[in-house]
């Protein structure tokens, strides 16, 4: 590779991106998506996997249990387990919600004494956990009200002792913002790299590459480096938004964040490269890139639904797209902080490197230095 050639293309690309005002898209779109969606997404939760431990076995407790059983928001199961064993079920991701009805629940109610119901919610998806908590409150107060007559009275009689496991602070942003970063960094670099190549095809300037001794590797480097550099800056911008605007914690390694993000951008721009190989007009390239990045980006970033609660084909699909691996690492660096000491993070990082290598190689292989 000759540095001079790459430099010439690089300079031309930057001038072109700047003068054609594409630069606005590069920096406004990612931040805009993050801010709009970061504030905008609220999620409904249904079919929460619920375990009810009924320690009272009375008329009142049966009423409460049946109220849960009849709600579409809960898939409940009644079982007699120790509290510890039940909590383990949440940790193993077999249940999302555990409700414990204390002994002498009915007795207290009849005497008009205060009683408390224990509720444990899987907090790993704060938006879900918060919604679930609201639903649980509603169902319980509603059931008691039917007995006591007024809402105020039922609220006075019962304390709901809700605790979230894993994620005590419970904020939507904590879950959505890393997911959005995973989405944005998949979409934006792919679009830019696809456009940079397809633009030359559409205008005909690609002939300068075809008919000159410029090597394929030089052309690729010249086209992809500007994307990597420009969107590399976005890694920092998005980080700043997350920390200062959405006030996310940052518990992990900054180096891991940067490194995995750059790898992820390489994956994204390789997707753009692949699109540019099969298309020859900018508008088709744009639409195609949007479709193949946004949909999996949304579905499998873990924003809408945790991968762990997916079933069947969707689990397989989630594992096919690279989004899941990157957002897992993002959740770790922002919220958990285990870093590479957790074997799953290391594995996922390696998978990302694998993706980047394979996609880039396929792209480089399929790019032809001649007219079709």
């Amino acid at each position: 590779m000759r540095i001079g050639v790459i430099k010439a293309y690089f300079k031309k690309e930057l001038l072109d991106i700047y003068r054609s005002k594409l630069i606005l898209m590069v920096y406004i779109m990612p931040s805009m998506i993050l801010i709009l969606f970061g504030y905008g997404i609220k999620l409904e939760v249904t079919h929460t996997r619920t375990l009810i431990i009924d320690n009272d076995q009375s008329k009142a407790s049966y009423d409460l249990v049946s109220a849960f059983e009849h709600s579409k928001y809960f898939n409940s199961e009644v079982k007699n387990l120790s509290e510890n064993k039940a909590l383990n079920l949440i940790k193993q991701d077999k249940k999302d919600l555990i409700i414990i009805i204390p002994e002498s629940f009915e007795k207290h109610l009849l005497k008009g004494l205060k009683t408390s119901v224990g509720v444990y919610i899987d907090g790993s998806f704060p938006s879900r956990a918060k919604t679930t908590e609201n639903y649980v409150n509603g169902v319980i107060y509603d059931a008691i009200m039917k007995r006591s007559g007024s809402e105020a009275e039922s609220r006075a009689l019962i304390t709901i002792n809700a605790r979230n496991l894993f994620n005590q602070s419970l904020r939507d942003e904590d879950m959505i913002v890393p997911g959005l970063i995973g989405l944005v960094l998949l979409v934006a670099p792919a679009i830019l790299s696809a456009l940079l190549i397809v633009k030359e095809k559409e205008k005909g300037t690609i002939f300068n590459f075809y008919s000159s001794p410029v090597k394929k590797s030089e052309f690729l480097a010249a086209k992809l480096l500007p994307v990597l550099v420009l969107h590399g800056i976005n890694i920092f911008i998005l980080f700043l938004w997350a920390i200062y605007l959405f006030e996310l914690p940052f518990r992990g390694s900054f180096l891991l964040y940067i490194f995995s993000s750059f790898i992820y951008i390489i994956i994204s721009l390789s997707v753009g490269l692949l699109v540019s190989i099969i298309t020859s007009s900018q508008i088709v390239a744009l639409v195609l890139t949007l479709i193949i990045t946004i949909i999996p980006g949304f579905l499998y970033s873990g924003m809408l639904m945790p991968i762990s609660s997916m079933e069947g084909e969707s689990v397989i699909e989630a594992h096919i797209y690279p989004v899941m691996y990157y957002t897992h690492i993002l959740y770790d660096v922002f919220l958990v902080g285990d870093g590479l000491s957790a074997s799953k993070n290391l594995l996922y990082l390696l998978i990302l490197v694998g993706y980047a290598t394979i996609l880039l190689s396929i792209g480089a292989l399929l790019l032809k230095k001649r007219v079709a």
Binding site: L15, G204, Y210, S211
Partner: protein, 541 residues
């Protein structure tokens, strides 16, 4: 010695043949011309030699043999290739100097004083020395093409491949392009292969190859080729002879005729070839139509018509008049404003300033036009045909659109197909048709509703010699039979001969407007319209 040998090279595109096996030998300092219509195989040969398209056969240049684009990599350093299309290889957003820097860098040229001197010389020859900061998107068509050429020459290629560098370029810039080329070729001993759609340029070349349907039908010096067809060319016959073609003042026949011989041009080679291959051109006639006598004598009158796109003035106060029974040629290079003008006439673009009268009526709003739609026929630049429908279905659709009664439609389609000679293609898709047939059937679609005026936007560009001549013949008949007014745009200056009067546009301004007869009288020493227009271009500066 920059020696090029092309051995049995053929090119295929998926299923279609682009070029049948061709062999060729040439050395430095020569200019070889490839002449022929779009799709005749000129570009295929260039792409193969430039090493940017897979091909069968073998090419040798500079003692390197290559059979594929991959093997051609090693010679690309000494090849300069300019693809077809005005300023195609330029980046709109980059300035003139930035282009030269970019091309020097990607070719890995050492920027020493010798290079800087050469670069200055190229800039001067292209007349771009004063515009070094201007972005390519804001250069005129001719300047863009000159910039593209000097970018291609920057690394001093030993083999120069230029694909239609002059198509759509104004006559003055075209002359300058040839000056640059001739200068470089004599000084650098470059081997140059140029394709062109202009027959007149063949005389500039050492050798020409005539292309048709992916084959070379003849090659040699222009003079020799003309010599070969001399025995077959005669003054136009008053009565048609058997097995002959009579067109544009010539009669071509393979058998000797008792007519006065006439000095042929290169066009003759194509007619003779056609005659040998397919026999005489099928007769074209026009469907009969009663003349409406209540049509006003002045069909269209424009007064100071102006169109602006931002700061750019595409049409600057254009006056024009089109009369009944007249063919008016609107001529100019690409980007001169021809299409913009037609689009304003049709209401496809709003008029920014000026007055327009159609059939004696002042046009102010879309409503004014609505009434006139039935009287106007229009053929757009790229023939607005639906590619997924057969010729018959297309015609039926246009008939419907013009509210021709369905019972009449089938008969009408047959009639037009018979008279214009595309009956056997009625059930084919437009993409499978030869260009010439496509052209005629587009006209059929535009005249089925019997308009009194026909607008044609560049119907002849890229079409082969025989089809072009037939097309002009058809327009002549249409004019005579129907007494229709025809406004036609073209960048072939030579086609002005076939019009009654011409208007010449340059950069959005009108620089000439007169009848063909008058123009010849004013310029008695001009050989052809190229010369006449060159004169106007020079004056307009």
């Amino acid at each position: 010695m920059n020696r090029l040998q092309v051995r049995k090279v053929s090119v295929t595109y998926r299923k279609k043949t682009g070029l049948k096996p061709v062999s060729l030998e040439a050395t430095g300092g020569e200019i070889i011309g490839l002449i022929g219509a779009d799709g005749a195989g000129k570009s295929s040969l260039m792409h193969a030699i430039a090493g940017i398209k897979s091909f069968d056969g073998e090419i040798e240049f500079d003692n390197h043999i290559y059979r594929s684009p991959k093997e051609a990599e090693k010679v690309k350093g000494s090849i300069g290739f300019m693809p077809q299309g005005l300023g195609l290889i330029l980046y709109e957003q980059l300035g003139v100097n930035e282009h030269l820097d970019f091309f020097a860098d990607i070719r890995g040229i050492k920027q020493d004083s010798a290079f800087r001197a050469y670069r200055e010389r190229l800039l001067r020859m292209a007349g771009l020395s004063d515009f070094t900061e201007r972005q390519a998107g804001r250069l005129s068509g001719g300047m863009m093409q000159k910039l593209a050429l000097i970018c291609t020459l920057l690394h001093r290629p030993k083999l120069l491949l230029l694909d239609e560098p002059t198509t759509g370029v104004d006559p003055l810039s075209r002359m300058e392009l040839w000056d640059i080329l001739n200068d470089i070729i004599t000084k650098e001993k470059t081997l140059c292969i140029v394709s062109t759609a202009y027959m007149a340029e063949a005389t500039q070349m050492d050798r020409v190859l005539l292309f048709e349907d992916g084959e070379i039908i003849d090659k040699g010096k222009a003079g020799e080729l003309i010599e070969k067809v001399r025995p077959f060319s005669y003054e136009s016959a008053p009565e048609p002879f058997e097995n002959s073609i009579t067109i544009h003042g010539y009669t071509y026949s393979l058998k000797p005729l008792k007519l006065k011989p006439k000095e042929p041009t290169l066009d003759a080679v194509f007619f003779i070839n056609f005659l040998k291959k397919y026999g005489p051109i099928p007769e074209i006639s026009i469907v009969h139509k009663d003349r409406d006598e209540d049509v006003p004598a002045t069909i269209m009158e424009a007064k100071g018509l102006t169109k602006r796109f931002g700061k750019f003035v595409a049409n600057d106060h254009i006056d024009m008049e089109l009369n009944r029974g007249e063919i008016l040629g609107l001529l100019g290079a690409n980007g001169a404003g021809k299409t913009t003008f037609i689009k304003m006439l049709l209401g496809l673009l709003p008029i920014d300033e000026g007055e327009l009268f159609l059939l004696g009526k002042r046009i102010k709003s879309a409503n004014d036009r609505q009434m006139l739609k039935a009287k106007i026929g229009y053929v757009s630049q790229h023939f607005a045909l639906y590619k997924g429908m057969s010729v018959r279905e297309n015609l039926r659709y246009f008939a419907n659109m013009h509210r021709i009664e369905p019972e009449r439609t089938s008969g009408l389609i047959k009639e037009y197909a018979n008279t214009l000679g595309f009956y056997s293609y009625l059930d084919a898709l437009p993409t499978d048709l030869p260009m010439g047939i496509n052209q005629r059937f587009s006209v059929a679609a535009a005249i089925m509703h019997e308009p009194v005026v026909l607008f044609l936007d560049e119907p002849t560009s890229g079409v082969d010699v025989v089809a072009r001549a037939t097309f002009w013949e058809m327009l002549q008949r249409l004019k005579e039979e129907w007494n229709i007014a025809i406004l036609i745009t073209t960048h072939y200056m030579g086609e002005a001969e076939f019009c009654d009067s011409v208007v010449l546009l340059r950069d959005g301004k009108k620089i000439a407007d007169d009848t063909v007869k008058n123009l010849y009288q004013i310029h008695p020493d001009a050989h052809n319209f190229e010369d006449i227009f060159l004169d106007y271009y020079k004056k307009a500066f």
